[in-house]
């Protein structure tokens, strides 16, 4: 019962923080330096990882799908299946998980340490709301970086699949056929659905990790605990929310 109340209290104050952050959106243009800094940090931290992982996910998908549908003589559809599953599902979720690991954890660690060492208090006494100064640039940065990550992930995933189809003997599907089947079935809606999903994940991850960071109190030991908590909560959020949002989008 107490835990439930705490959960509601936590969600309530999180929503409050989110709304407060949104209310400072007009100040964004003059925070462009901080925004750029955050975009670069987030990009550097995640793009290579997302690319490598997506490549292998595409590749392993090709193997699995090739193996399962070979007997039906339907191998020309491998491209379609990989294409759709990357765009609609795997890329958004993989991106979200990488963002959790690299960005969410870093945001929580940074904000929690600022909180514990009273830097957040200092900001408040200087009449600089932490929501405006700390949360907003990070939130805006993730919104800008997510589409890039998603595209990187989708494209490298497709390439991973293509490489396997072309060079694995028992599949032996030409790149032309692979991309033709991919192109003919994927609609722009699939891309926007994937993007909506990825953006919602990104915003959620950033709000959760900022909120957990800013609510940290106590000593330096709490910083580590906050980071762990943020990663766990974000991954749970992504996987559960994924089901519901997919249900809505389909």
């Amino acid at each position: 019962m107490k835990a439930l109340l705490e959960l509601f209290e936590w969600i309530g104050s999180g929503v409050q923080m989110a709304l407060k952050t949104m209310s400072y959106i007009p100040s964004l243009p003059r925070q462009w330096k901080r925004l750029l800094e955050q975009c670069l940090f987030m990009g550097y931290a995640t793009v290579p990882l997302v690319a490598i992982l997506s490549f292998f996910i595409g590749a392993v998908l090709a193997l699995q799908i090739g193996y399962s549908i070979m007997d039906f003589g339907a191998k020309q559809y491998i491209g379609t299946i990989i294409g759709l599953s990357m765009v609609r599902e795997l890329s958004p979720v993989m991106t979200a998980i990488m963002v959790t690991g690299r960005v969410g954890s870093a945001v929580t660690a940074e904000l929690a340490s600022m909180k514990v060492y009273q830097e957040v208090d200092a900001l408040r006494t200087m009449n600089i709301p932490p929501e405006r100064f700390l949360v907003l640039p990070r939130l805006a940065a993730i919104v800008l970086v997510i589409p890039v990550l998603l595209i990187v992930s989708v494209v490298t995933g497709w390439i991973g699949g293509q490489v396997v189809c072309e060079y694995v003997d028992w599949i032996d599907l030409s790149s032309d056929l692979y991309y033709n089947s991919l192109k003919s079935f994927i609609k722009i809606d699939d891309l926007t659905d994937g993007l909506i999903k990825a953006e919602l994940f990104g915003v959620g991850i950033l709000l959760i990790s900022s909120h957990l960071g800013l609510r940290t109190s106590g000593g330096p030991r709490e910083i580590g605990a906050a980071v762990t908590r943020a990663v766990v909560v974000c991954i749970i959020f992504v996987l559960i929310f994924d089901y519901f949002i997919t249900n809505i989008l389909i």
């Binding site: 940074e110 340490s113 600022m114 060492y117 009273q118 830097e119 208090d121 200092a122 408040r124 006494t125 200087m126 009449n127 600089i128 100064f133």
Partner: protein, 261 residues
């Protein structure tokens, strides 16, 4: 200091303030006033609640009971925070660790768009000179000594051109000479800008030499309030014990146990 801006000083009024953390009653009915432009020193043994009291003035703590007014307005009212500039020198510095010293100092005027970059540069440089931290502009706080951090955090407060400055132990961690310089500086800032100053300190020299009035906090209550001269002539045994420099004020004998409330 050059380029000092005089400000409209504000009064501080604390009325019957109570604050507990869980079972622990930290403040148990504290009342005092600080007049506009005055230097008020608040002394007391470690753990007596001085920092907690000060945090009420910048709305970092909410009172359980009682009133905290700045310029006649409740300190935790967002309007008051917007209208009255209150700067706080934190006991532990609370510098922004990811920024250089210069950026730490320039943050307030930049964020509130008070001056152009050139003017900010001039102001920051002049304050840094006054505090003898000229060389530190490009360093980050982690590269500073404890005493330098303290002075950077004093500098960061002065740059705000505050109407009320709260100093939490401004001279701890400083050698005696720097402590004396800083004490002098606090008096100078108050004189030149006209700001109201509330200084929390263990440093008897500081309190006795520059305070207009002072108070002594023990076990969550004020046991003395008056001028430094009143304090020198005070015969209350608690006050004598605290003020007698041969006795260590950290000695548990002079503090009640925390559960003894």
């Amino acid at each position: 200091m050059e380029s000092t801006v005089t400000v409209e000083p504000v009064s501080v009024s604390i009325e019957n303030l109570y604050k507990s953390f869980g079972e622990q009653k930290v403040l148990r009915g504290v009342s005092f006033d600080v007049k506009p432009g005055e230097i008020f020193a608040l002394m007391g043994p470690s753990g007596s609640g001085k920092s907690v009291l000060m945090r009420h003035l910048v709305a970092l703590e909410q009172a359980d009971e009682g009133e905290v007014l700045i310029g006649g307005e409740p300190a935790d009212d967002p309007g008051t925070q917007g209208n009255i500039r209150t700067a706080m020198v934190f006991q532990a510095g609370a510098l922004f660790n990811s920024m250089t010293v210069y950026d730490n100092l320039a943050l307030y005027p930049r964020e509130h768009r008070l001056y152009s970059e050139t003017v900010i540069w001039e102001k920051v440089t002049s304050v840094m000179r006054a505090l003898s931290i000229e060389g530190a502009g490009r360093k980050i706080p982690a590269e500073l000594s404890g005493g330098m951090k303290k002075r950077v955090s004093v500098a960061r407060a002065i740059i705000m051109e505050p109407q009320l400055i709260l100093y939490d132990e401004p001279t701890s961690e400083l050698d005696p000479i720097l402590a004396a310089t800083t004490t002098e500086l606090i008096a100078t800032i108050a004189r030149e800008t006209g700001a109201t100053s509330l200084v929390v300190t263990h440093d008897r020299n500081l309190a006795l030499s520059i305070a207009d009035r002072m108070a002594l906090l023990m076990d969550g209550k004020l046991v003395f309030r008056g001028t430094p001269d009143d304090l020198r002539n005070n015969n209350d045994p608690q006050v004598l014990e605290f003020m007698n420099p041969t006795i260590d004020p950290l000695n548990p004998r002079f503090r009640k146990q925390e559960n003894d409330v």
